[in-house]
């Protein structure tokens, strides 16, 4: 890296904009991109190799010693996925919890944000822009600030001046999934509404007018005209939200209750190293198990992801 970077720095500043663009898509730039990609992947590759090495090897030597002393085992995966005692993994059952948490936590905000974005961009009512600005501004609030109030909202209900506006939810067991869905939906909405609104409001108004002339209601317009056009933005937001929820530890720790009944895989991974971190070799294989599903989702939907990344950033 250090030998290549300066040469780029020397060529870049003096050239015109067109040449810069050419250079950026040229051979040198591609080479740099490949080198960066390799550097970025090396630790993951090391982790991957480690996950197949025996426990004592992992703890005493680095993964690169694998090449001089190749020893492979599936023990780490067996222990993490199907270990007979509850201590050594059973990640398979937590995987299901993760899926149960993730799917509604993606679909709810996706649906709500779509409706909200349509209302904010294509219906007219007083204070519409202020509502939009309000939602937009909510993105600034860190979710960590809302954890305690939201949890007490669930556990104690809402009471104002002695009048109970909402009783405590008293959710137990698998009912705690509802808390997690609710929390994830809340935290996702500001970004979701913003992203989809930006994409939706760029659609040509003539389309809506034409549909209106043909007698379409807002519901029909949304379903038949708007949805097909904003599909890339929906997919992009869906993937964002999926990855966020799948990898989330904080919200799950606080709202899911942390027992085997409701805890997602991330919570399980955090416990798996043992009370004093003495079983950390399990984290190698645990990490890869938790990576599989996001990888499948990402690879199968990546063309929407790239297209949707541009949502809201490129006008026209």
């Amino acid at each position: 890296m250090t030998t290549i970077a300066p040469s780029v720095a020397r060529t870049q500043p003096k050239t015109a904009a067109g040449r810069v663009r050419k250079r950026l898509s040229g051979r040198v730039a591609s080479l740099i991109a490949v080198v960066i990609a390799l550097l970025w992947t090396t630790p993951t590759f090391g982790l991957f190799l480690s996950s197949f090495r025996p426990e004592d090897d992992i703890k005493q030597t680095g993964w690169w010693t694998f090449f001089s002393n190749p020893q492979l085992t599936l023990e780490n995966y067996r222990e993490v996925l199907f270990g007979s005692s509850s201590s050594s993994g059973r990640l398979a059952s937590f995987l299901i919890n993760s899926v149960v948490i993730t799917i509604p936590s993606v679909l709810f905000p996706l649906a709500l944000a779509t409706f909200a974005a349509y209302a904010l961009s294509w219906t007219r009512f007083r204070g519409r822009d202020w509502v939009y600005i309000g939602i937009f501004a909510l993105q600034v609030v860190p979710l960590q600030m809302a954890l305690v109030p939201l949890l007490s909202f669930f556990s104690q209900g809402v009471e104002v001046f002695g009048i109970t506006l909402m009783p405590a939810w008293n959710l137990e067991g698998s009912g705690q999934f509802i808390q997690v869905w609710f929390a994830h939906t809340c935290f996702a909405l500001p970004l979701g509404v913003f992203l989809i609104h930006n994409f939706m409001s760029e659609l040509p108004g003539e389309l809506m007018e034409a549909a209106r002339v043909d007698g379409a209601t807002h519901g029909t317009i949304l379903r038949k005209v708007v949805l097909p056009l904003v599909a890339p933005a929906l997919a992009a937001f869906g993937i964002f939200q999926f990855l966020w929820v799948w990898n989330d530890l904080l919200v799950a720790l606080i709202f899911s209750g942390g027992t085997a009944e409701t805890a997602p895989m991330t919570v399980r991974l955090a416990q798996m190293a043992g009370t004093r971190g003495n079983e950390w070799q399990r984290l190698t294989s645990g990490a890869f198990v938790s990576m599989i599903i996001p990888l499948i989702v990402f690879l199968s939907m990546q063309r929407y992801f790239v297209r949707g990344l541009l949502a809201g950033s490129v006008k026209g």
């Binding site: 703890k59 050594s88 305690v148 079983e279």
Partner: protein, 456 residues
Amino acid sequence: MSLLSRPARLSAIAAGLGLALVATGCGNSGGDSAAPAASAGGGDAASAECAPFTEYGKFEGTTVSIYSPIRDAEADLFEQAWKPFADCTGIKITYEGTGEFEAQIQVRADAGNPPDIAFFPQPGLLERFAKAGKLKPASEKVKTLANENWSPDWVKYGTVDDVFYGAPLGASVKSFVWYSPSMFAEKGWTVPTTWADLMTLTETIAASGIKPWCAGIESGDATGWPATDWIEDVVLRDLGPEGYDQWVAHDLPFNDPKMVTAVDKVGAILKNEKYVNGGYGPVKSIASTAFQEGGVPITEGKCALHRQASFYANFWPEGTKVAEDGDVFAFYLPGNDASSKPVLGAGEFVAGFADRPEVQAVQAYLAGGDFPNRRMALGTYVSANKKVDVSKAANAIDKLSMEMLQDPSTVFRFDGSDLMPAAVGAGTFWKGMTDWINGKDTKSTLDFIEASWPKS
């Protein structure tokens, strides 16, 4: 239009998959909730099995939640140990272990959603919750049991402003030096009984060409804690138990000249290039060596001594025999003279956020003699409970630990960093000691820690 068809198909699949999983999820939970009822019925039939638990009463259909920093394999053994009690009394105990106990318990308590019972690993934390009025005082029964089964030193740590909140549970002994009995026998070294002997032995080992001590204090965001244990052990020896209590309560400033002397006494070992860091390298390698691996060079003959708590028995490489005549064992970190035996240790305290009868029953059960003995029968466990049958300890080191804890002449003191305010005990003390290992001098390290003590 073609855009819609693919996502539509995908989302249909996703929704279908989700529904199927929700359905299986519900099926599982139904099965789980049915199970305890069935086994409780079975428990009634086998009343002989339930005889020891009749004194706690019957609480069919009740649930008690426990929140604790103990997780993984150890947590499994806990659950197995109280299963007969739970089955016979009809109490369903839901156990949750977490690595983020200190932060999470605060969030849950603040939000009005605390567990029924928490295992506090730090008396300082317990005190904070007790003073905030979140904890319920322990029942009379628990109090009586605790006074019967634990020494006053231990009971004191579960007491805040003369109100007793929680009985101790497990324990670990920190005043241990690990060594290799076979190496000692081969070289003709003997286990020292005074601090002066220890230093002579250190010098003898160094002269034989082996670096006598090895250490590791790296522990993620808690890096430095093993070094604080060193300091605490020496303070307890040099200043005596009363001096130690004053230091922990900040009646003695952190940068007092007596403290400088005590820290320098540790420095004579940990910061002496001749004495450390066997198997790893120079003094500074202590800071970058994981505490789990700190003593491993002993098994390779590259180091002779490693000061670490009793729980280090779990960290030896597989196949290492931990016994008095085995590959590794531990001796008591000697006092200044052979007659005084102060012991530094740690443990958990069982405090309740609720005082429903079934919660008190669980607390009473955990404070009694039945639970620790059952737990010990399942695997390595140390408790200072006097009802524990030491002869049945799972291994030699547990046995030695419990003999020390139960010895009436033992003066027990809890790990000081767990008693100090978190800003120091779980913050600057760790950080200060790491800097100290990395070359900062004693006086300015102690000044730094002193300056960080919360003013109030």
